[in-house]
Amino acid sequence: MTTTALAAQRPARPGPRPGPQPGTRPGLPGIATTIGHYSGRIVLAAFFGFPIVFMFVSSLKPDTQIFADMGSVKAFLPVGDVSFDNYRTTLETVPAIRFLVNSVIVSGLTVGLGLVVNSMAAFGLSRMQWRGRGLVLSVILATLVVPVETFALPMLWWVNKLPGLTVQDGALLWTEGWLDTYHVQILPFVANAFSIYLYYSYFQSIPKDLDEAARIDGAGWFRIYRSVIMPLSGPATASVAILTFLPAWNQYLWPLMVVQDENLRPVMVGVSYFFQLDIAWGPMMAYATLITVPVLALFLTFQRAFIGSIASSGVKG
């Protein structure tokens, strides 16, 4: 947790200046400012951090213990009747492992296909001169201002009409409708204007001389894309991967509508399991923890890349 997140991206500044900085007074008032500053930060850290701590801690306690600890600091401490019983209950009553596997498949394929499709599009748009290029670029960027919620319902009707192929009794059959499949959860989110834009602006910063040199050596465009440009674009790939993975893992509205089959449902839709009859809060917190920990672990490991990718998303309005 001590890795520098954004600090590393700042331009180097002169080292710590000795003595008081302009604007801060020395002595007691300076100390008071520092204390004020830190208490503000700590109060905010409690506001943002404690609900998550509460979730983790409650997942380890039976409901009676959770409610007994409410209202005291014990609500945030794993004390009292602590066990993994809630996790056992959750795994017994909800196909949580199945949901996790589905989410890994769906978000993994969305990210993988997205990296290829969007980087190729950006390559064609930024490295090659062709008629209609400008038009295609502006058409793609125009999709940015329209959130998926505006056309999700017509799209639901549309995917229900799309033809599919299925194998039945050893024969290949045409089917109508994409509902209850993996690909209906993946394909609509592969091509992404924002990913194309991120790759596009990154590719623009790579000198065109490299392409020329490779072409003189006899490389075709696909070779240049695969062996020259992509290996140089690690940071863009990391940003796109993260910015595709988060929404893919967290998807809710779309899979809620297109997947009824339990065997294909992702983790977020699985929460509806807990809305029946009496809510047992302990197992619910256990499930919430179970589906949050993978993302949280990724975030803490690749913290710098996560924050960097979000920061890069706002560079241009």
């Binding site: 943002f48 998550i52 409410m70 919620e149 056309f151 999700a152 017509p154 309005g317």
Partner: protein, 310 residues
């Protein structure tokens, strides 16, 4: 993928070679997978939204598709639930947009100062962002329950003077409760974007202003605020679009209740188009929503446009 390389002897002018016919075809080939997917899963559904809104389309229907003119729209405009949903959506956006962007800026300024532990604080403020809104919604639903954490903390902090309420089951508190939670979840995202904007402002400008005796407040208004112009547009547009699209929180926490006090436009569109399978009516609602989102984001871009260019 076919490689198309014109023989190096054909042309010595690089521009002529680059714009050759084969390059055009290859360029389009690189873009085509993305283009096909965008057509299938963006342009066709958006176009369908405009078409189906004027039909009797149902998700699964034995009846043939039939144009019904403005029927869906007259039904929508005379539906009190639609006006409720529109009002609730506006209420949410009007509160959340300024509060979330302002709080995010405050956090960014707070963690922009380099001091011991800055990275730890920044990480903690960011944790809710990587937590799914669905998880956040079930967690806060628990916290907002009558005997839940929020009320217990309120009682403990006020020595039992304040008793709290069943936040999500009270028509006047349900929406504000969802607002607080939504800001809590997303503010770290915009903090990071403000921070990126803050770091593009050269430190020398502040040093020069400090030498001239400008107060912190003056420095903010004359250096920081103008320096964040592009960031500001981006943040306003993204928060507004996200706020208008409010759905998951409602679906997980209240189902639009109590007494429709938290029903939103997207929630109503999903309820009619998915639960009741009335695609035509849902498309009409989506169309209104589409126009709303587009108008507001274009209007915001206009308001925060580049004033130097006029």
């Amino acid at each position: 993928m076919a490689t198309t390389l014109s023989p190096p002897t054909v042309s010595t002018d690089p521009r002529a070679r680059l714009e050759s016919h084969s390059t055009s075809a290859t360029g389009l080939a690189f873009v085509s997978p993305a283009l096909v997917l965008l057509v299938l899963f963006f342009f066709v559904p958006v176009a369908l939204c405009f078409v189906l809104a004027f039909t009797n389309a149902r998700l699964i229907s034995p009846e043939p598709l039939r144009f019904t003119g403005l029927d869906n729209f007259t039904r929508m405009f005379s539906d009190p639930l639609f006006w409720h949903s529109l009002r609730n959506t506006a209420y949410f956006a009007v509160v959340v947009v300024p509060v979330q962007s302002g709080l995010a800026l405050l956090l960014a300024i707070l963690v922009n100062k380099r001091a011991r532990g800055t990275n730890i604080f920044r990480t903690i403020y960011f944790v809710p962002v990587v937590t799914s809104i669905v998880v956040v919604s079930i967690l806060w639903r628990f916290m907002y329950a009558e005997g839940g954490l929020v009320n217990s903390l309120l009682q403990a902090a006020t020595f039992n003077l304040v008793q709290g309420t069943d936040w999500l089951n009270n028509t006047s508190t349900a929406m504000p409760a969802i607002m607080v939670m939504s800001v809590w979840q997303a503010v770290g995202f915009h903090m990071v974007i403000w921070l990126a904007g803050l770091q593009t402002i050269p430190e020398e400008q502040y040093e020069a202003a400090a030498l001239d005796g400008a107060s912190k407040w003056h420095q903010f208004w004359h250096i920081t605020w103008p320096g964040l112009r592009d960031t500001r547009t981006f943040i306003l547009v993204t928060i507004t679009i996200a706020a208008l699209s409010l759905f998951a929180q409602i679906n997980v926490m209240t189902n639009g209740g109590p007494l429709n006090s938290t029903s939103t436009v997207v929630y109503q569109a999903v309820r009619t188009g998915y639960s009741q399978q009335q695609t035509g009516y849902a498309s009409a609602i989506s169309l209104v929503f589409f126009v709303l989102v587009l108008t507001i984001s274009l209007f915001q871009r206009f308001l925060t446009r580049d004033k130097d260019l006029r």
